[in-house]
């Protein structure tokens, strides 16, 4: 059962989109994406000499008439696409009393899976260290995925990079990789994770989700003790007007650094706030990144 946020209108609109890879990949079966495999497709790929065994229907008779040579047209075969959706399992994805970020991450993953499954793509949703669904196809799989994710909660892995490595190791066919995270981690760690994904020759898109508690950790101006949801470490400091301004600056600076890093490596990047309407993000913001068309 899909979450309530998936209204019939939203589903109808999602069906209009399809996943778009910036690169062609070999698929496992016929699908809706141009593949590296030459074969029976609609997209013209190249000319080549006729060889025994070629389908005579692909002979370009006009070239033969002009040059008396048997030339056949080759087409790019359209195959399915492997879509691996990775959700950051860190505790920061679900701070105490603030489930919106985690819920938004699950919803985003399911929405992307829905779009992919609509095109007969193979989809796997992975929460490293917690749950790895197999690559599924067919519209019915969306319910299996929704069921699998419905009861899951973040559980801080001892080593996020290691868990990511384990999750990625299941990928046999290169394809799309979508990493959903708040990206509230050091730049080095973001770089490390993206390197892992690139090593698998995946077309990567990173979706950052930030909650209100990420923008304003403390509601009141006072001295405060903050406890890290991931490590349990506590930190005392004074939360006042100056701190808030400076925190906003640091947060923005961090986002800029990540964006620069990702874009410089050809990695798609989209960011959403939990306060932003979900359908607006899915139908407007995300297509703008080129992931959906």
């Amino acid at each position: 059962m899909l979450p309530a946020i998936f209204t019939p209108a939203l589903l109808k609109n999602l069906e209009l989109f399809k996943m778009h890879s910036r690169r062609a990949f070999l698929g496992s079966k016929q699908g809706g994406h141009i593949s590296l495999k030459r074969g029976h497709g609609l997209e013209f790929a190249d000319y080549r000499r006729y060889e025994l065994g070629d389908n005579p229907r692909h002979i370009d008779w006009g070239v033969y008439a002009r040059s008396d040579k048997l030339i056949v047209k080759t087409f790019q075969e359209e195959q399915d696409l492997s879509v691996l959706i990775l959700i950051d399992p860190s505790n920061s994805m679900r701070p105490q009393d603030h489930p919106q970020k985690w819920e938004r991450a699950i919803a985003t993953a399911l929405a992307l899976a829905y779009i992919a499954l609509m095109q007969q793509d193979r989809v796997s949703i992975s929460i490293p260290g917690i749950k790895d669904t197999p690559f599924l196809t067919g519209m019915r799989a969306i319910h299996s995925l929704a069921q699998a994710l419905s009861e899951l909660q973040p559980n801080q892995p001892a080593d996020l990079t290691l868990s990511m490595r384990s999750a990625i190791s299941r990928v046999r066919f290169p394809g799309l990789a979508i990493f959903i995270s708040d990206l509230l981690m050091p730049i080095e760690q973001v770089r490390e994770i993206t390197e892992l994904l690139r090593a698998k020759n995946l077309d990567i898109t990173t979706i950052q989700i930030l909650g209100q508690s990420d923008i304003t950790p403390f509601a009141q101006v006072s001295d405060a003790v903050a406890e890290d949801s991931e490590t349990g470490e506590q930190l005392e400091f004074s939360w006042d007007g100056d701190s808030q301004t400076q925190y906003a600056f640091l947060l923005n600076q961090h986002a800029q650094q990540i964006r620069s890093l990702l874009l410089s490596r050809g990695i798609g990047f989209a960011s959403q706030l939990t306060t932003q309407p979900f359908d607006e993000f899915m139908l407007r913001s995300l297509p703008a990144t080129g992931l959906l068309r």
């Binding site: 505790n91 701070p95 509230l184 909650g211 508690s213 001295d223 405060a224 003790v225 890290d228 930190l235």
Partner: protein, 609 residues
């Protein structure tokens, strides 16, 4: 007048910084609340690094209110008091024998030590420029500081005070000090209870260290008399034992013979007795060896079932006696016989009755037979060259007084030893004419009623009031006066084979025999019961004083009447109760404001009205 402030326990000021620390900690915790879980700290850590210097504690106004309350409570805890302005203070320490008792949980501390401690605290609480003079009551009123001294000197001198084997004579000492205008305040430290209602006026202050909470702890047993009797050529010793307890109990009285060269005690006999509550019993030891001249008796409580008589005062448990002490023969000249006047009860003197008409012809003949004369309502013709005690000589009387209070007396006169004369009213006293070699020691406002003098090595006392018949305990004041007067004219303190401590005339060659065979004495105040050895003589010294031994029924101190009004400072005012009350008032107001504020908030929000 605002006196300087002081603190009884300034070390407790350490509570203030502790309290401040706790308060700040509580406020910081309160401001922080419980730790707030944030997604990640790595941005906040950056933030802290850049804003470390700015972090500071900004307490709300309520913090200062609570800090103020803590400071007030700290002041109260430190025993804040208001010192009196500089004063001249006479501190009178009761060092009588009863102050040697050890009661309660004082861990062996005597009442004298406790009284000195109390006096030390009192003097320390006086302003630093106050002048202090410290007195002891016993054996006579004596200044320890030799005049007014500084506060610190007074405190130092407190340590020199020792227990004296004498009664306290507290009333007379207080009266005498109260009459001196040089002291703005007289404070007595004693074990005697205060009178329930003190007379108005703060000039004389009684600080009683008596603990009535456990009256049984004040129970005491004592030997109250020892005397020897000769019957059929054999020596017998009679010992009187008294109990000052609220219940009866058993005791053991042991008689020792005192051996000389070397000194030693050897047990001769012991008897077990049962002493009634607040009663006495006489124990007779007979068939004693005529060769032994010195004896000692000792009383100690015995276990009687589960109960043991209390014995708070150990110093009155022993008695000493010298057999064969010199006997005094006194001629009683007057119309009544010694038996009629009760004089036969006085066992250290043998009275022989001479009627006035018999005496007229016997004057010269009798001169060598008697140690002294006692003229009762009779005046001899001319001057007798013999020690003489005259009681109510009619010829000398020139004026009659009735029930008048004494206006003055010489407290140091031996005839007035142990007497509390402050409240004494003399019944029908005649004012006396005094020869030029005599001096008055008791006077009414109308004139002298008792005088004494010495002439040709003989002592003379004349009393202008009746002290006979001798009634012993029934009329203790007059009885003591009579005995003192007799001893004075006889020139001896020996009574029935022993001398009272304080009456012993110390000389350089006299040494105190203690059971460990040592302890030379040097001061009159140090005389304690025991055997004193001179060059050729030994003297047994005892101290029997029921008023000192009776700790349960101790008489309350009656402060002398004030004859003049004088503005004096009150005792140091402890401010702790006032500070605590003030803090409680503040907290009450705070609570009311908080409750009203909450009610208003509920009403404003549409809650129940």
């Amino acid at each position: 007048m605002m006196g300087e402030l002081g603190f009884l326990a300034p070390a407790l000021f350490v509570v203030a910084p502790l309290g401040l620390g706790v308060l700040v900690w509580v406020y910081r915790r309160k401001a922080q609340g419980k730790a707030l879980v944030v997604p990640t700290l790595f941005l906040l850590r950056e933030l802290k690094r850049s804003s470390q210097a700015r972090r500071q504690f900004k307490p709300p106004p309520r913090f200062f209110f609570e800090l103020f309350c803590i400071l007030l409570l700290t002041l109260a805890l430190a025993g804040m008091y208001q010192r009196r302005p500089a004063m001249r203070i006479a501190a009178l320490i009761d060092n009588s024998i009863s102050m040697g008792k050890v009661v309660g949980d004082g861990a062996g501390e005597t009442d004298l030590a406790r009284a000195i401690g109390l006096a030390r605290s009192f003097i320390q609480s006086a302003s630093s420029d106050s002048q202090i003079e410290i007195f002891v009551t016993s054996p006579t009123l004596r200044s320890v500081t030799d005049g007014l001294s500084s506060r610190d000197e007074g405190i130092r001198k407190l340590d020199t005070i020792k227990l004296a084997f004498a009664a306290d004579s507290l009333e007379s000492a207080l009266s005498k000090l109260a009459l001196q205008a040089s002291y703005e305040q007289v404070v007595a430290f004693t074990d005697r209870p205060k009178k329930a209602k003190e007379p108005a006026g703060p000039r004389v202050q009684i600080e009683s260290i008596r603990a009535d909470a456990n009256i049984d702890s004040l129970s005491n047993i004592a030997l109250t008399d020892i005397r020897y009797l000769e019957r059929d050529g054999k020596t017998e010793i009679a010992v009187s034992a008294s109990s000052y307890a609220t219940r009866m109990g058993a005791a053991k009285v042991t008689l020792f013979e005192v051996q000389q060269n070397p000194w030693a005690l050897r047990k001769v006999a012991e008897k077990e007795i049962t002493l009634p509550s607040r009663g006495s019993q006489e124990i007779l030891f007979n068939d004693l060896s005529p060769q032994v001249l010195l004896y000692s008796a000792k009383i100690e409580p015995l276990r009687n079932g589960n109960s043991v008589l209390g014995n708070a005062l150990a110093t009155d448990d022993r008695a000493w006696i010298e057999i064969g002490a010199k006997e005094h023969r006194v001629a009683l000249v007057g119309p009544l016989s010694p038996e009629a006047l009760g004089l036969n009860q006085i066992n250290f003197v043998t009275f022989e009755h001479l009627k006035p008409e018999e005496f007229a012809g016997e004057e010269t003949k009798a001169a060598n037979r008697y140690s002294a004369y006692l003229f009762h309502r009779y005046k001899a013709q001319g001057h007798l060259d013999k020690p003489t005690l005259s009681i109510l000589p009619p010829q000398l009387a020139n004026e009659n007084g009735q029930m008048q209070p004494l206006s003055s007396w010489d407290a140091t006169h031996p005839a007035l030893r142990y007497l509390a004369l402050a409240t004494l009213q003399m019944p029908k006293a005649d004012v006396l004419a005094i020869p030029d070699w005599g001096s008055a020691f008791l006077s009414l406002s109308s004139g002298p009623i008792a005088w004494s003098g010495s002439k040709n090595s003989s002592n003379y006392i004349t009393l202008g009031f009746e002290v006979l018949p001798y009634e012993g305990k029934k009329s203790p004041l007059l009885s003591i006066l009579l005995l003192n007067s007799l001893k004075y004219v006889l020139g001896t303190a020996a009574v029935g084979g022993h001398v009272s401590a304080g009456d012993l005339n110390l000389s350089a060659e006299l040494q105190f025999f203690n059971q460990d065979g040592s302890a030379a004495i040097s001061r009159r105040e140090d005389i304690s019961p025991g055997i004193y050895q001179g060059a050729e003589t030994v003297t047994a010294v005892n101290y029997f004083e029921t008023t000192e031994s009776d700790l349960v029924g101790a008489r309350p101190v009656v402060a002398a009447e004030r004859t003049e009004s004088m503005e004096v400072g009150a005792r140091p005012r402890l401010l702790a109760p006032a500070l605590c009350m003030f803090v409680m008032l503040l907290l009450l107001i705070d609570m009311i404001i908080a409750v009203l504020g909450r009610k208003r908030a509920v009403t404003a929000s549409g809650g129940p009205k």
